[in-house]
């Protein structure tokens, strides 16, 4: 049940990272004069990126959702996400409203036990939405965040068909009063961005995780799955977690516990 990019699973990689850390964050070590061993690992993973630097493949952003702590009827994460990203249009046909995140109720038919959990883009390591996109608008960033480049999206909605999680929405009507950090517009597909505008500023959490923690539930943990010291990595090591539709081998960045 471990993702391919799970840290610590490869002792050789851990050695390389330790060797890289030995030269004070330089990211490489000299094994002979003029010959350097590059650290392709998690050397600076947890540190805040400098302004003007690109997203690092050493980082793998993800979420851990504890369905046992998700309170029935609570929609704090949904409200916070949609406030953060300015998703609040109310169209005459409610099926056309965008959903970046939604609450799902699971019912065990044998005994009627109910579980609630939030669903959003699972930020797959091998995203089917990226595979099918005819223009290259659907894309995965180096740090594992799956995004839609609206500049090249033609609104064909093939990615919406391909996504097994129904994570994407289509903007049906012209919008105004968008957030400066979250441009959105008619004719494009959109989905959870893992609050990429926050992460790029160096903030440590997403709107949904923040709201859930503030409400006292703490059911959502955001963090770097590649950093062995991050809270999410420690929790994932300690408790049993599930990747939804793990049979599809998509390597999702969102893990669930208690489902």
């Amino acid at each position: 049940m471990t993702a391919p990019q799970e840290p610590g699973s490869n002792p050789r990689r851990a050695f390389i990272a330790a060797a890289g850390a030995g030269v004070a964050g330089l990211g490489f070590t000299a094994i002979a004069p003029g010959l350097h061993l590059m650290a392709v690992g998690q050397a600076d993973a947890a540190e805040v990126r400098k302004a003007g630097s690109a997203a690092s493949p050493a980082v793998r952003w993800g979420l851990l959702i504890d369905a046992g702590k998700c309170a029935p009827g609570c929609t704090k994460c949904v409200d916070a996400c949609h406030t953060e990203n300015g998703v609040s249009e109310k169209l005459p046909d409610p099926r056309q409203n965008s959903q970046w995140i939604r609450k799902i109720e699971l019912v065990d038919r044998r005994d009627g036990r109910k579980t609630e959990l939030p669903m959003m883009c699972q930020h797959c390591a091998n995203p089917p939405c990226v595979d099918v996109c005819p223009t290259g608008a659907s894309m995965k960033r180096a740090d594992g965040i799956v995004l839609v480049d609206r500049h090249t999206c033609i609104g064909c909605r093939y990615c919406m068909m391909a996504c097994p999680y129904k994570a994407r929405s289509f903007v049906h009507e012209e919008l105004s009063d968008q957030k400066p950090d979250v441009p959105r517009g008619k004719g494009c597909v959109e989905s959870c961005t893992l609050c990429v505008h926050r992460i790029d500023k160096g903030e440590k959490t997403t709107a949904c995780a923040e709201a859930c923690a503030q409400a006292g539930h703490g059911a959502i943990v955001f963090g770097d799955l590649n950093d062995p010291d991050s809270e999410i990595s420690q929790r994932v090591r300690e408790i049993q977690t599930t990747q939804l539709r793990a049979d599809l081998k998509l390597g999702t960045g969102v893990r669930y516990h208690g489902i």
Binding site: A54, T83, E89, R141, R150, H151, L175, D177, Q178, K179
Partner: protein
């Protein structure tokens, strides 16, 4: 036939060397766009370069920001707005004197940026209206 071809060549040469008709001097008959520049003189590049290349600068910046996550570059659409939004309306759009719209309506070049991006400076949105 040959004479006609020579005449055509001469005519083409005459057109090619004549001054461009749109560049009328001071007091010329050609209308010029009226641009309200809220904060002049602090741009990321000289005016001539900005007028000719701003779309290329923004396009390359947008790809780096979108695909690689590089933020805080000088050529940033939000930075454009913060300086150039009209002091009256707070926006780069709205009237033909506002920064983006003035030249774009003059040159009849469609502005797509603002279908998705926020054209007002210091905008704190509470939600999106359809």
């Amino acid at each position: 036939m040959k004479l006609l071809r020579i005449l055509a060549t001469l005519l083409f040469a005459a057109i090619a060397v004549s001054p461009a008709p749109t560049f009328a001097g001071e007091g010329g008959r050609t209308a010029k766009p009226v641009i309200e520049i809220a904060n002049p003189g602090k741009c990321v590049a000289p005016v001539d370069e900005m007028r000719r290349n701003h779309m290329e600068m923004l396009k390359h910046q947008r790809d780096r920001t979108m695909r690689q996550g590089i933020r805080g570059e000088p050529a940033s659409l939000n930075a454009c707005i913060e300086c150039h939004a009209s002091k009256k309306t707070g926006s780069v759009l709205g009237s033909n004197e506002n920064f983006c719209q003035s030249c774009h309506s003059y040159a009849a070049v469609k502005l797509d940026c603002w279908d998705c991006h926020q054209p007002k400076a210091g905008f704190k949105a509470t939600g999106v209206k359809p």
